[in-house]
C-alpha cells in the first residue's frame, strides 16, 4: 500500500524535479562560472567571484532597495483598497456581478500589455488622464523625472493588482460565518466594532496569505517597469528583475546574472524568515 502511493506520485515528482531542480542546479552552475555568450560552450570555473562582484555592485544594491521600497509601498495600498472594495460590495446590490466583472478586468490582461496600455493612458499627447487633468486646469507630466515616474509605476501596479486582493478578500468575506455578526448586532455593536473585533480577526489568516503573495509578486515586478520606463531615468526605477534581465540578455553575462538571482533568493529567504518570526510573536500566524 505504501509502495503504491509512492509509485503513483513518481511521474509528477519527476516532472516537478525536471522543472525546478534542474534549472536551480543549472543556475548554481552558471553562478560559479564565467559564462557569456562567447564562452557559453567553454565556461571557466571562477568559484565565488561572481558573488563577490555582485555584492560590491552599487547598482545591484540600489535595485534591491528600490524593489523593496516599491513592494512595501504598493502592497499595503492594494491590501487596503482591495479590502475596502470587498467590504463595500459585501451587501445586496443591484448590478453587483457587472461591477465585479469590471473590477476584475485589469487582472485578465497580461502585465506587459497592461503596461503598454497605461503608458498610452498617461501619454501627454494622446493619453486620457492628461486630457482630463488639462481640462480641469491641472498640468502634470507623468514621466518627467524619478518622482513622477515612480508615482506612475505605483498607480499602474495598484490598478492592475488591487482586483487580486479584492477577489480573495471578497471570497473570504462570503465564507465567514454569520452567527458572530448576528450576536454582535444583538449586543449592540456598531459597524466599526464589528469590523475591528469580528471581521478582521476572522479574515486575518486570509489577509496574511494575500499580503505575502502580493509582496512576493511586487518584489518580482519586471514587465511594468521595463515597458514604461526601461528602468530609467538613468537607473532610478530599475528593479532587481530588470537589472538581472539586463545582465543576462543585454550584457550576456549569465554567470553574474545567476549570482545576482541566487543572492536575491538568499536575501528574500532571510527577510521572509525574519518576517514570519516577527508575525508569529504578534500572534498573526
Amino acid at each position: 500500500m505504501k509502495l503504491t502511493k509512492y509509485l503513483l506520485i513518481i511521474p509528477t515528482l519527476i516532472l516537478l524535479l525536471a522543472l525546478t531542480l534542474y534549472p536551480t542546479a543549472f543556475a548554481y552552475f552558471l553562478a560559479l562560472h564565467e559564462i557569456t555568450v562567447q564562452t557559453f560552450r567553454n565556461p571557466t570555473f571562477v568559484g565565488l567571484d561572481n558573488f563577490i562582484e555582485i555584492s560590491f555592485n552599487r547598482e545591484f544594491w540600489y535595485a534591491i532597495g528600490f524593489t523593496t521600497l516599491f513592494a512595501f509601498v504598493v502592497t499595503p495600498i492594494e491590501m487596503g483598497l482591495g479590502l475596502l472594495i470587498s467590504l463595500l460590495l459585501d451587501r445586496p446590490l443591484s448590478g453587483k456581478r457587472i461591477i465585479i466583472t469590471l473590477i476584475l478586468t485589469p487582472l485578465a490582461i497580461a502585465p506587459a500589455l497592461f503596461a503598454v496600455m497605461m503608458k498610452l493612458m498617461f501619454n501627454e499627447f494622446v493619453g486620457l488622464v492628461p486630457y482630463i487633468l488639462n481640462s480641469l486646469g491641472f498640468h502634470y507630466s507623468f514621466f518627467r523625472d524619478f518622482p513622477s515616474s515612480f508615482l506612475t509605476l505605483i498607480i499602474t501596479d495598484i490598478i492592475q493588482w488591487t482586483p487580486f486582493v479584492f477577489i480573495i478578500t471578497y471570497s473570504g468575506l462570503q465564507a465567514l460565518p454569520r452567527e458572530p455578526y448576528e450576536a454582535a448586532l444583538i449586543d449592540g455593536a456598531g459597524s466599526k466594532e464589528i469590523f475591528r473585533y469580528i471581521t478582521i480577526p476572522l479574515l486575518k489568516p486570509l489577509l496574511l496569505i494575500v499580503f505575502v503573495l502580493r509582496l512576493m509578486d511586487a518584489f518580482k515586478t519586471f514587465d511594468t517597469v521595463y515597458i514604461m520606463t526601461g528602468g530609467g531615468p538613468g537607473f532610478s526605477t530599475t528593479t532587481a528583475s530588470v537589472m538581472i534581465y539586463r545582465a543576462s540578455f543585454i550584457h550576456g553575462n549569465f554567470g553574474l546574472a545567476a549570482a545576482a538571482t541566487i543572492f536575491l533568493l538568499f536575501i528574500a529567504s532571510v527577510a521572509s524568515t525574519v518576517g514570519i518570526r516577527v508575525l508569529s510573536k504578534t500572534g498573526m500566524v
Binding site: V37, F40, V126, T229, G232, R246, H251
Partner: protein, 506 residues
C-alpha cells in the same frame, strides 16, 4: 427509478492494489504498442513518398527522337537530339538519374514590421516560382521586436536547428561562433553565380568578423534630421542653429510659435536612443563608436564635443523645448509627437520616413516632411561637419541548421538586384546601390535621392564589437541620468567612460 439510474456503476466500488496496477500496466503497454505502430507507419509512409534513385536504360532508334524515360513510376520526358551515322542505327543510352529530392522547407526568421512585410512577398514569390525547381520551400518565422535578440541568442546558444536563416543586426560580433561562415559558399560559382559588389562595402563589413563574412545586409538604418519643410524653409546646418531654431518653435519662449515644442528628444533608457545621440555627438566633432575605434571613442567620451552634444539634449528637456515626457520616448512616441505637429524637428532613424510621408498614417504632416543631414559644427575650412551613424540589419545562416546549402541558395537569391528591388518596394531598405539608382525604387521610396548623398558623404559604419549591446546600454544609462537632471553632463560622461573602460579592458 430515475434516482436509481443516477447511481453510477462505479459508486462505492473498491479497487484492490492488484487491479489498479494491472489496469495501469495494460494502459501503458497499449500506449507503447500504439506508439510503435504509428512510428513504423510513419517511417514507411515517408520512405514511400521518395522514389528511389535508379539507373535507367533508354533506347534511341533514330536521330532526333523523343526519349521517354521511366524511373520507378515517375515519368521524366526528355527530348534529345541523337547524332548517329545512319538513320536506322540504334543507340542505347544509359544514364543514372538521382532520386528526386524530398522538398525541403527552410525556416527564415525575421522580426515584425516593414522588413517582414517585404520578406513575406519575396518568400511568396520564391515559393511560387523557384521552390518547384529547387525543391526548397521557405517559411517565415517571426519573433517580436522587443524580444527578438533574446530569442535568437537563446536559440543559437542551445544549438537548436529550428531556424535555418536568422535575422540579426548588432549581434554578429557576439554570435559569430554560432553562425555559418559564408566565404566558401560565395566563392563557389555553382552555388553563387551572382555578385556582391552592389552592396555598400560598410554593409558587408558590418557582417564581417575576423575577416570572415557571416551574413548579408538586407536593411540599412541611417540617422537623419527630420523636419517640417513648411515651417523651416532651410534646415539648420549647425548645432547652434538647431538650438536657436528649436527655441523659436517652443511656445514657452515664443507664444506665436505654430508648435508647442521645438524639438523631440528620444530620451528613454533604451540603448537605441544612445545611438541616436551618438550621431549628434559625432557631428559635433566627437569620436563615435565606429568599427575598430571603440577604445578611441571611450577615451574621447569626455571631449568638449561630447559634452556639447549631451548638454544640448539635457537643456532641451530641462527647459521644456522637448516634451517633458520625452524622457520615456523611443521610436514610436517620437514619431507620434511629430505626426501630431507637436514639434518641427528631431533626429530619427530613416525607417520613419516612409511612415511619416504616408498620407494615411500621417494625415497632418505627410506632405511636409523634409530630410537633412544631422547638424554639426563649422570646421576651419568653412564647411560644416555632418556625420550619420549607420548600422545594418541582415541575415545569417544558423551553424546548427540541417539545411545549410538550401538556406544559402535562398540567401543567394535574396542578394540579386531583382530580389533586393522587390524587398525595397515592399517595405525593406537594402543597402544596395544598384537598387537605389533604379527608377522603380525611387518611385516607391521618394527619399532615396535625399538619402544617397548622406550615405555617400556622411555615413559611418557603427561598431559590431561583441559587447556592442553592453556598450550602448551603459552609455544610455548615464545619458538618461543627465537628461533627467539627476546628474550633471560632466558626471554622466565621466561615469560612462569609467564603466566602458572597465568593460573593454576585460
Amino acid at each position: 427509478m430515475l434516482e436509481k439510474k443516477k447511481d453510477h456503476f462505479l459508486r462505492g466500488k473498491k479497487f484492490s492494489r492488484r487491479e489498479a496496477l494491472t489496469t495501469a500496466g495494460k494502459v501503458a503497454i497499449s500506449a507503447v504498442v500504439a506508439g510503435c505502430i504509428a512510428g513504423a507507419g510513419g517511417y514507411f509512409a515517408g520512405r514511400a513518398a521518395a522514389p528511389p534513385a535508379g539507373t535507367v536504360t533508354s533506347t534511341v532508334t533514330k536521330p532526333g527522337a523523343t526519349v521517354t524515360t521511366t524511373v520507378a513510376g515517375t515519368t521524366i520526358t526528355k527530348t534529345e537530339t541523337v547524332a548517329g551515322p545512319t538513320v536506322t542505327e540504334t543507340i542505347t543510352k544509359t544514364e543514372t538519374i538521382a532520386a528526386p529530392k524530398k522538398p525541403v522547407t527552410i525556416k527564415v526568421n525575421w522580426w515584425p514590421g516593414p522588413e517582414s512585410d517585404a520578406i513575406a512577398k519575396i518568400i511568396e514569390r520564391w515559393n511560387k516560382y523557384l521552390a518547384p525547381e529547387t525543391g526548397i520551400n521557405a517559411e517565415l518565422v517571426l519573433f517580436g521586436r522587443d524580444v527578438h535578440a533574446d530569442k535568437i541568442t537563446s536559440m543559437l546558444l542551445a544549438g537548436s536547428p529550428e531556424l535555418d536563416i536568422v535575422f540579426e543586426f548588432y549581434l554578429v560580433g557576439k554570435l559569430a561562433s554560432y553562425l555559418e561562415p559564408l566565404d566558401d559558399y560565395f566563392a563557389n560559382e555553382s552555388l553563387y553565380p551572382y555578385t556582391l559588389t552592389d552592396f555598400y562595402p560598410a554593409g558587408l563589413k558590418a557582417f564581417t568578423v575576423n575577416d570572415k563574412l557571416y551574413g548579408i545586409p538586407t536593411d540599412v538604418s541611417v540617422h537623419v534630421l527630420i523636419y517640417r519643410k513648411d515651417l523651416i524653409p532651410k534646415p539648420p546646418e549647425t548645432i547652434d542653429e538647431m538650438v536657436e531654431m528649436a527655441k523659436k518653435f517652443t511656445k514657452k519662449y515664443n507664444p506665436d510659435s505654430p508648435t508647442e515644442y521645438g524639438y523631440i528628444v528620444s530620451g528613454k533608457r533604451l540603448l537605441f536612443n544612445a545611438m541616436l545621440w551618438e550621431s549628434l555627438m559625432a557631428s559635433a566633432g566627437g569620436t563615435p563608436f565606429e568599427v575598430g575605434k571603440e577604445l578611441e571613442a571611450v577615451e574621447n567620451l569626455t571631449s568638449p564635443a561630447a559634452k556639447k552634444a549631451l548638454q544640448v539634449y539635457t537643456d532641451f528637456i530641462r527647459d521644456g523645448i522637448s516634451p517633458p515626457d520625452s524622457i520615456t520616448y523611443e521610436y514610436m512616441e517620437a514619431n507620434a509627437a511629430f505626426q501630431a505637429e507637436k514639434a518641427p524637428m528631431y533626429i530619427q532613424w530613416n525607417a520613419a520616413i516612409g511612415e511619416l510621408r504616408d498620407k494615411e498614417k500621417s494625415p497632418r504632416v505627410w506632405d511636409k516632411v523634409g530630410i537633412a543631414p544631422i547638424p554639426g559644427v563649422k570646421l576651419s575650412d568653412g564647411t560644416v561637419l555632418h556625420r550619420s551613424r549607420t548600422h545594418y540589419l541582415g541575415f545569417s545562416i544558423n551553424k546548427a541548421s540541417e539545411h545549410k546549402v538550401e538556406a544559402f541558395k535562398f540567401l543567394a537569391y535574396l542578394t540579386t538586384t531583382r530580389a533586393m528591388l522587390d524587398y525595397l518596394k515592399y517595405g525593406g531598405f537594402p543597402p544596395n546601390r544598384a537598387v537605389w539608382v533604379n527608377p522603380e525604387a525611387q518611385a516607391v521610396r521618394t527619399e532615396l535621392p535625399e538619402l544617397m548623398p548622406i550615405m555617400d558623404k556622411y555615413a559611418y559604419a557603427a561598431t559590431t564589437h561583441p559587447e556592442v549591446f553592453t556598450i550602448y546600454d551603459i552609455l544610455v544609462k548615464h545619458l538618461s541620468a543627465a537628461w533627467s537632471g539627476e546628474v550633471s553632463v560632466d558626471e554622466a560622461l565621466e561615469a560612462a567612460q569609467k564603466e566602458l573602460r572597465e568593460l573593454l579592458a576585460k
